[in-house]
Structure formats: structure tokens, C-alpha cells
């Protein structure tokens, strides 16, 4: 069966269908109306509205001091965000493609993430980093990665991976309200995906998973767009009489281990799915936590499904083979049920 996610604090507001990117954009604009410290900075975020329409309307409504086009200079841009955040603004730094984070990791990893700790707590870094991630557009090895495991490994950062229009808005709102650096990974293939979104301002707390579907035979923990694929796989499996519970962690740092473990303790089997490479991915962390906290409940080893250990390939035949999809998730669940 499918469960409905009840929008907290959204009572009395209309719910309508919006695309994922429009929902994100609405959350940003609503927060900017509430809080004049929020400033958007990045490449083509102002005049052009962002290459993915993430920032449509920001310049028009808030003017050039709150929608700042910068040179193509990610290190400078990220550092500017860090400095502005340390001085009390709440900057949104857009890194157009997640792959480009590699150009400015020092400012994110060595500065933003550590500043509060290194300074003995005397500073806050309320910085939101938005970035487009994920494969499937034929964008090849430098415009397609999902690097959440890198970021989740760094103490001081938070990482959100919305899988629906509802979460794209709610997680962005939480990121903007958080006093820590938060990376919001928008999945490129989901930008146009529609979903029900309340008109009013609401948040989706960072660190609280969503159970997209309840089931008794196995748990699939799936990140980002893989949660959508996992839900579809669950529909397919239901026709075979297999009831799968689908858990979308929604943020990988912090990670809602409690919800995952609670689910696994009922279903006794778990498959973790992400589109990042399997080796060293978040799946490895989840597998380790599950075996530590729910070992006695497991009827089979924790299974993982991710990308092979290669850069994201270009050719459609290769890229299709690279990213997990609903068919391979369903196969993974069948394999999981055949074990133990």
C-alpha cells in the first residue's frame, strides 16, 4: 500500500501539482520574502534564472543585490558565500553541476564545514549550496555524478537529496533555515516531475526519512531519484505478491538510521539503492549500520545496488547500463528474497 505524506504545518493551504523545480523555486521565493538575509549567488542565477530555472523570478522580485551573477569562479564564489554567511547573511551558493564542486572543495570542506568547530563554536555558517546531480541526460562523466558520499563523509556538512516535488520545496526550506552548511542535490531527471505541493510554506526536517510505501517482505532504502524507481519497482513486485517497504532517507547527512533499522527489523531483508558508484557509497554505511543495529533481524545479507566503478559513460547504451532502474531494483529484491 502507498502512504500519503502529510504536509506538516500546511493546514488550510491549497495543494496543487507542481514540477519538482517549480516547487523548489517556490520554497526559495517564499523564504526570501520572509528573510531578507537570504541572497542567491552563482553563475547565471540572476539574469538567466539558472540554467535549470531554479532561480526564475528571483532577480525580478528581489533585485540585483539578492540575485548575484558571478564570474565562472567556483572557488571564489563558494568562499564568498562562506564569508557572507560568517557575517550573518544566509547565502545560497549555486554550483551549476555537482561535478563542479570538485573545483571548490576547499571552501566547502576545509572552510564552511569546519569553521564552527575550528573556531570553538564562535561562528555560524548558514550557507545553502544548491546543485544539480545525477546521470541520465547523456551529459557524460563531468556533468552527471552523484557525490553525496563525499559530502556526507565531512563532519559539519548536511546533505539533502529530494526525490519529489514536495520534498524539493520542503527540504530547501529547511536548508535555508538551517544555521549549518547544507548541500541540496536536485536530480536533473526529476526537475520536470510533477507532484502535489502545498501552496504555503512548510518544511521537511533534515534527518527524517520518508516511508514511501509500507511492506512486509523486504525494505528498499533508496536515495534521490532511486526512491522514485524503487516505488515503481515495488508496484511491479506487488503484482507478484511481494510487498516491499520503500524508505527514502531524504537526507544522507544526517541519516535517519532509526527509520531504516525499524523497517528492517520488521521486513528482515534490505536492499540499498543509489545511483552513485557502489564502492564506498552511502549504501556501505547503511549496510554497516544495519548489521550493527539489526543483525539479529536479518534473514539475508544486506544487499546493495549502485553504479559500477567507472566514470559516468556517455553513450546511451552504456549510460542505461550504468544507472540502476526499476527493473534492476525489482531483480535485486527477488534475489534478496531468494537468499537465506
Amino acid at each position: 500500500m502507498t502512504t500519503t505524506v502529510v504536509p506538516p504545518g500546511a493546514a488550510g493551504t491549497g495543494v496543487r501539482e507542481l514540477t519538482y523545480v517549480k516547487a523548489f523555486n517556490e520554497g526559495l521565493l517564499q523564504c526570501m520574502r520572509e528573510d531578507s538575509d537570504i541572497v542567491v549567488m552563482g553563475e547565471d542565477v540572476a539574469g538567466y534564472g539558472g540554467v535549470f530555472h531554479m532561480f526564475d523570478g528571483v532577480l525580478g522580485e528581489f533585485g540585483p543585490m539578492r540575485a548575484v551573477d558571478t564570474p565562472i569562479a567556483e572557488m571564489g564564489l563558494m568562499g564568498m558565500g562562506v564569508g557572507a554567511a560568517a557575517r550573518g547573511l544566509r547565502p545560497v551558493v549555486d554550483i551549476m553541476f555537482m561535478d563542479f564542486l570538485a573545483v571548490c572543495l576547499d571552501q566547502l570542506v576545509n572552510q564552511a564545514a569546519k569553521m564552527k568547530f575550528m573556531f570553538g563554536g564562535s561562528v555560524r555558517v548558514p550557507l545553502t549550496i544548491t546543485t544539480a546531480s545525477g546521470a541520465g541526460l547523456g551529459a557524460a562523466a563531468q556533468h552527471s555524478q552523484s557525490l553525496e558520499a563525499w559530502l556526507a563523509h565531512v563532519p559539519g556538512l548536511k546533505v539533502a537529496m529530494p526525490s519529489s516535488a514536495y520534498d524539493a520545496k520542503g527540504l530547501m526550506v529547511s536548508a535555508l533555515r538551517d544555521d549549518n552548511p547544507v548541500v541540496v542535490m536536485l536530480n536533473k531527471l526529476l526537475l520536470g516531475a510533477k507532484g502535489e505541493v502545498p501552496e504555503g510554506l512548510y518544511d521537511v526536517p533534515l534527518g527524517r526519512a520518508a516511508t514511501l510505501r509500507t511492506g512486509t517482505d523486504a525494505t528498499v532504502v533508496a536515495l534521490g531519484r532511486m526512491a522514485v524507481e524503487a516505488a515503481a519497482a515495488a508496484e511491479e513486485l506487488a503484482a507478484e505478491g511481494i510487498e516491499v517497504e520503500v524508505v527514502d532517507p531524504r537526507t544522507v547527512q544526517p541519516l535517519d538510521t532509526e527509520t531504516i533499522v525499524e523497517s528492517v527489523s520488521r521486513t528482515n531483508r534490505v536492499l540499498v539503492v543509489h545511483e552513485a558508484v557502489t564502492f564506498g557509497g552511502i549504501g556501505a554505511e547503511i549496510a554497516a549500520q544495519v548489521q550493527d543495529l539489526a543483525f539479529d533481524h536479518l534473514d539475508a545479507p544486506v544487499a546493495r545496488l549502485g553504479a559500477p566503478f567507472t566514470p559516468v559513460p556517455f553513450s546511451p547504451s552504456l549510460e542505461k547500463a550504468y544507472v540502476p532502474d526499476r527493473a534492476r531494483i525489482a531483480d535485486g529484491v527477488r534475489g534478496l528474497l531468494a537468499r537465506g
Binding site: 541572497v39 564564489l77 564568498m80 575550528m118
Partner: protein, 341 residues
């Protein structure tokens, strides 16, 4: 170094020496010299954990620049950051306590020498990554402009850092966004152990300003008055909304890149070191003031004595401060948000 008019009773702008200015610069420099000399001694006695990058020799740069700034002006610093913190007004007690890794340190023992900060006086942190403070200062300047303040931001960095991408990106950003930034390059002639001629073909880092459409000016980094005059012009420009500038101060560090004495083969000649020490910034200002008769020897001596007493007190304070409790190791990794309802 052609501008060393050691005995002039006038500034290079032709103004008569102002005793208040002289005493202010002198006090800032003496505080740095004493703080760093004592820190070096503690390190040699193996009392301090970790790395120590000492600022001795370069005092005129921090003192001259900081004398142009207010508490609400922002600076970012480097791995060699004690001098900037002291000149901006940081206190000896929490500084030494941090070097000792104690709970009363500026970073509660979590940062150490390379992360000393004091936001109450606009000190946005030393930094362990070469060049990393430069874009952060640009962000601080963005915040100033956004809030409509007349504050300025001053990133300090070395000749070595002027080669790193973060400097060039930050300089261009500040220029194109017309932000109130004064880039202060302390050219001490070496990127760690590599002499300037081995890491850039330019003689003057200030020439790099032209690439970003901003003024660049060279000054004598052993002459605190010259630094002050040059930085003041850039600060005035920034406060007036006319955008960033680059100031290069030619200076020298007396100690090694890290610690007090070089542990391996020498990379600088004794003649070179002696030549720079002959133009020592503190001796220079004391001699000029004496020649002009504007500050007495006793006044200078009092500053030295007070500063030494301050350092002695602070070192005792630091030694007595407790080490952090390992049970608190995860403290301040995140700003704790109110639990969602």
C-alpha cells in the same frame, strides 16, 4: 628597498610624525614581537603541541594596516596569523591558551595556532589553507555592502598565495562586484622555502592588480608608517564605495617557515637575513621618533615592559587552563537547530 628614510622626522607624505600614531603603531608591533618571541620559546621548550608559524619580522605590515581599521572592519588571515590577530586587538590570554590547546583558548582548544579568530573584533580567522581566507574576506565585504555598512574587509596573504586560484578568483569577484576589499599581500620573499624568483616572474605582486582593473601599490613593509599611509588610501577608497585595491608590502620573516630555526638545509643566506634585520621595523620607528623628538625612550620602554608582563601573565593563565574533556569532542561540529515540532 629605496624608500628607507630612517631618520626622517616626516612621513613619506611629508606630514610631521604624530606621537599618537607612532605610539599606536609601536605598541601593536611590540605586542606582536613579544607574543611571537615567547611563543617561539615555548615551542622550543616543547610546551606547545602542533605547528607554529611565527610572524616576527613582518610586524610593520599588520600594525600599519590594522591601524587604519575599526573593530567592525573584517580581516582574514593566514597560517602565519598571530600578528594579524594581535594587531587587530586580540588578547594574549586566550591566544596563548589556544596555542596550548586549552579550554580558555580562542577556539576552546579545537583550532590551535592556525585557526585563531575573534569575531568581536572582526578577526574572521587565521587559515591553514594558503589563499583560502581571501575569498572569505570578499564574502565579508559583500555582507558589508549588502547591509549598507561602511565597513571594509582586508584579507592578508603572502607572495606565495598570490599564485593560487582563490586569490585570482576573489580579486576578480571583488572588482566586478565593486566590493570594499583591501587585498594586502605581505611579500616576505618566500613561498615556504621557495624564493619569489622561483615561483613567479613578476617582481611586484602589486602588478597583478591591473589584471582585475584595480589599483595596485607597493610599500615598504618594514616601515609601519609607510604601510599605514598606503593601506589608508586603499581603505578610504573602499569605504567610499570605489571598490577594491591591492597593497603589496615588501617584508621579511626572521624565523623559519615553521618554528624558530630551520631544521634542514638553509635556503636563505645569513647576509640576506642580516640585511633585513638591519632595517627592523620596531628599531626603525623608535629611531625615527627619537630623531624627531616626538616620543621618549622611556615611553617606548614602558610599552615593552607592559607587554612582557602581559605575556608572562597570559602564559601562566594558559598553562593553568584545563585541557578540553574528550567527552566533549563532538561539541560545535554543528550549530544545533531547534528540534522540529
Amino acid at each position: 628597498m629605496g624608500s628607507a628614510t630612517v631618520t626622517s622626522e616626516h612621513t613619506s607624505a611629508g606630514e610631521r610624525l604624530d606621537p599618537q600614531v607612532v605610539l599606536d603603531l609601536h605598541r601593536r608591533m611590540v605586542r606582536i614581537r613579544v607574543f611571537e618571541t615567547e611563543a617561539g620559546r615555548l615551542a622550543e621548550q616543547a610546551e606547545l603541541p602542533g605547528f607554529l608559524h611565527l610572524y616576527v619580522g613582518q610586524e610593520a605590515v599588520a600594525a600599519g594596516a590594522m591601524s587604519c581599521l575599526r573593530d567592525d572592519d573584517q580581516i582574514t588571515s593566514t597560517h602565519r596569523g598571530h600578528g594579524h590577530a594581535v594587531a587587530k586587538g586580540a588578547q594574549f590570554r586566550p591566544m596563548y591558551a589556544e596555542l596550548f590547546g586549552r579550554v580558555d583558548g580562542y577556539c576552546s582548544g579545537r583550532g590551535g595556532s592556525m585557526h585563531i579568530n575573534d569575531l568581536s573584533i572582526g578577526m574572521l580567522g587565521a587559515n591553514g589553507i594558503v589563499g583560502a581566507g581571501i575569498p572569505i574576506a570578499v564574502g565579508a565585504a559583500f555582507a558589508s555592502k549588502y547591509k549598507g555598512e561602511d565597513t571594509v574587509a582586508v584579507p592578508f596573504f603572502g607572495d606565495g598565495a598570490s599564485n593560487i586560484g582563490a586569490f585570482h578568483e576573489a580579486a576578480n569577484l571583488a572588482a566586478v562586484l565593486r566590493l570594499p576589499v583591501v587585498f594586502v599581500c605581505e611579500n616576505n620573499g618566500y613561498a615556504e622555502f621557495t624564493p619569489q624568483a622561483g615561483h613567479m616572474l613578476l617582481e611586484d605582486v602589486a602588478d597583478r592588480a591591473a589584471a582585475y582593473g584595480m589599483p595596485g601599490e607597493v610599500c615598504d613593509g618594514m616601515d609601519a608608517l609607510a604601510v599605514r599611509e598606503t593601506v589608508q588610501r586603499a581603505v578610504d577608497r573602499a569605504r567610499a564605495g570605489d571598490g577594491p585595491s591591492l597593497v603589496e608590502a615588501k617584508t621579511y620573516r626572521y624565523y623559519d617557515h615553521q618554528g624558530v630555526k630551520g631544521l634542514r638545509k638553509p635556503y636563505r643566506t645569513q647576509e640576506e637575513i642580516d640585511a633585513w634585520k638591519a632595517r627592523d621595523a620596531i628599531e626603525l620607528i623608535e629611531a625615527r621618533a627619537a630623531a624627531a623628538g616626538v616620543v621618549s625612550e622611556e615611553q617606548f620602554e614602558r610599552v615593552w615592559a607592559e607587554t612582557r608582563a602581559d605575556a608572562a601573565d597570559a602564559i601562566e593563565f594558559a598553562r593553568a587552563s584545563p585541557l578540553p574533556d574528550p567527552a566533549d569532542i563532538a561539541q560545535d561540529v554543528y550549530t544545533v537547530m531547534q528540534a522540529p515540532q
